[in-house]
Symmetry: C2
Subunit: 344 residues, 2 copies
């Protein structure tokens, strides 16, 4: 079977689902929607931005004059703190359960105009420290801590100011719940961590590598469903942020800059994506089966304005991709490590 020109399926051992790969399909002409690429160069301060230092937010509170990373409680949180544990709905077809949690916004930098790849490594390192501190604090009182970033209007992000979020919940949500099952099962069968074994195999192979350093590896996973999806993995055992030492955090800041720079350079645009960290559920923060990792899910396919639509067949039947993960990785790897905006 030739991966390069023959439709085939690949298996994602992390979520237990297959993905359809149709490499020849990249050749079809695109007559559908063109999105507006985000190529605006923004000033360092925007008086109308509710995330900039000193400005008033929608809720009426003013931001402090912060100097690096700034965290606050989301003014329109999807979850609210509480301890309701009553379970509603009698019959098994109408099951409901209470959901409580804490939602926070993490401003990566006071500079309105700079996204992650445009920040100095030292500034990204401070974001890593805040992620670790948030996880540490919120894991004490929540079953799961989900750290993520929506970037770009195409990804439903309503503010261009560089920021991410953390939603910590009284329950373990669907995706990490599933990853806990698959990683535990693999560990029980092989006596080793699935994602550490996977990182070592990918590191040795190299064909899907996007970036690597002594401690971290970024690959387009063998089972990627988004065109330029990236899986960021430690090359050492670590179930959560609390297990990452200073040197490993430095290296993490480095590789985050490398991945996001390759993204921006690929289509010379501020590359939209959703990214997020999957650490172990709070009750299993030292579990040997769980390996901390980040997923990057970016929608662009052909250019800064032509995206992959995960619709129709993908929603009803199965994820489908139009170029192989190997091709996607090679294209990202070929990008300059210098951000296109800093070259002009």
């Amino acid at each position: 079977m030739s991966f390069d020109d023959q439709p085939h399926r690949r298996f994602n051992p992390l979520n237990g689902q297959w993905v359809l790969v149709s490499p020849h399909r990249a050749k079809r002409p695109w007559q559908g929607q063109q999105d507006e690429p985000d190529n605006s160069v923004r000033a360092a301060y925007d008086a109308g931005c509710y995330l900039c230092p000193g400005n008033e937010r929608v809720g009426g509170v003013a931001n402090p004059d912060y100097a690096d990373v700034f965290v606050f409680d989301n003014d329109f949180a999807a979850l609210i703190p509480g301890d309701d544990a009553s379970v509603d709905g009698g019959s098994s077809l109408f099951q409901a359960a209470p959901a409580n949690g804490t939602c926070r916004v993490i401003c990566f930098s006071p500079d309105h105009g700079k996204s992650l790849p445009e920040l100095p490594v030292a500034a990204i390192r401070r974001v890593v420290d805040v992620w670790a501190a948030q996880e540490e604090e919120l894991a004490k009182t929540h079953a799961y801590v989900q750290i993520f970033e929506n970037k770009g209007a195409m990804m439903g992000c309503s503010s261009p100011h560089p920021h991410g979020q953390v939603w910590a919940t009284s329950y373990v949500p669907a995706e990490p719940f599933q990853e806990n099952i698959t990683q535990k099962q693999w560990f029980n069968e092989h006596g080793a961590s699935m994602l550490l074994a996977y990182a070592e195999a990918e590191h040795a192979d190299g064909s899907r590598t996007v970036a690597a350093n002594t401690h971290w590896l970024a690959v387009v996973p063998f089972w990627a469903s988004w065109p330029f999806e990236v899986l960021l993995l430690p090359l050492f055992a670590a179930a959560s942020f609390s297990r990452i030492n200073n040197e490993q955090r430095d290296a993490l800041a480095d590789i985050l800059k490398a991945i996001t720079t390759a993204y921006d350079n690929l289509f010379r645009t501020s590359f939209p994506y959703s990214m997020g960290w999957h650490g172990a559920p709070s009750a299993e923060r030292d579990a040997a089966h769980w390996q901390l990792h980040a997923h990057f899910y970016p929608p662009l396919l052909r250019s800064a304005s032509v995206r992959k639509f995960m619709v129709g067949y993908e929603m009803l039947a199965e994820a489908q991709r139009d170029l192989t993960p190997e091709t996607a990785a090679a294209r990202l790897r070929a990008q300059s490590p210098v951000h296109f905006r800093s070259m002009t």
Copy 2:
């Protein structure tokens, strides 16, 4: 627990996943992307459309001068016929398998300007007959037949000409594969069809009903993740289209018109969605556990131009919705049964 103002989770017994419901969140202001609503009134014939009768397609073939429904093989198929069954990739972390199939396009009508709700019931009935015939034919040589429609540029649809697709595959794709497991398990435990029991319970309750007739029920399911998601269910046992008699087909055409008319009237726009049919896998076309049904997944949330983004938390953790299924159903139910365009 109050469903109306308290965040909670609901369980989807069909795919085995929870959904987070945050009803109070509908109140937050929206400062993000506004999409272009599709409000163009189109002529019955467009010389530049590759689906209109008589026109030449991208591949160079000319369409016949068809009079009602027209089916042809997709010129840029994601799957190609074949019988490769070799399995690649040795270790369990790098599993690949061949995928073969047939991809067809189904033009609903020669009239370029009319989408499903604007067609007469008799024309929709002809679409139903073609769906049934395609399923019948393709199930003979494929493990699964996926019939679907992507509607609207927002859903990655590249032609406004009313059409759907069918992808028939040598394998059972992820979603129906999962639905087969959950329906089988429920049947084994309860000795009855899960979705027939569900349809009866919803029919009796009424609070999530969007439309109903003697044979069919359309509800915003208790576990809906998209804002105005609809599940279309038969009120009789039927594992696939082949089990639906003429009277039931007439009633199906009727309710399809009712659902899509309510959709268009809600925001007075051509309502975008992906919809598709889940019939039983070909090997189990008479299975008592499987109930034929259609899912409608529409993205709009607040207006013709403000959609729900399933990003960030939703991609990384768990689906999340901002209004209750009961509220969504009540709003759809309140719409006139007459299409807004035919009222002017």
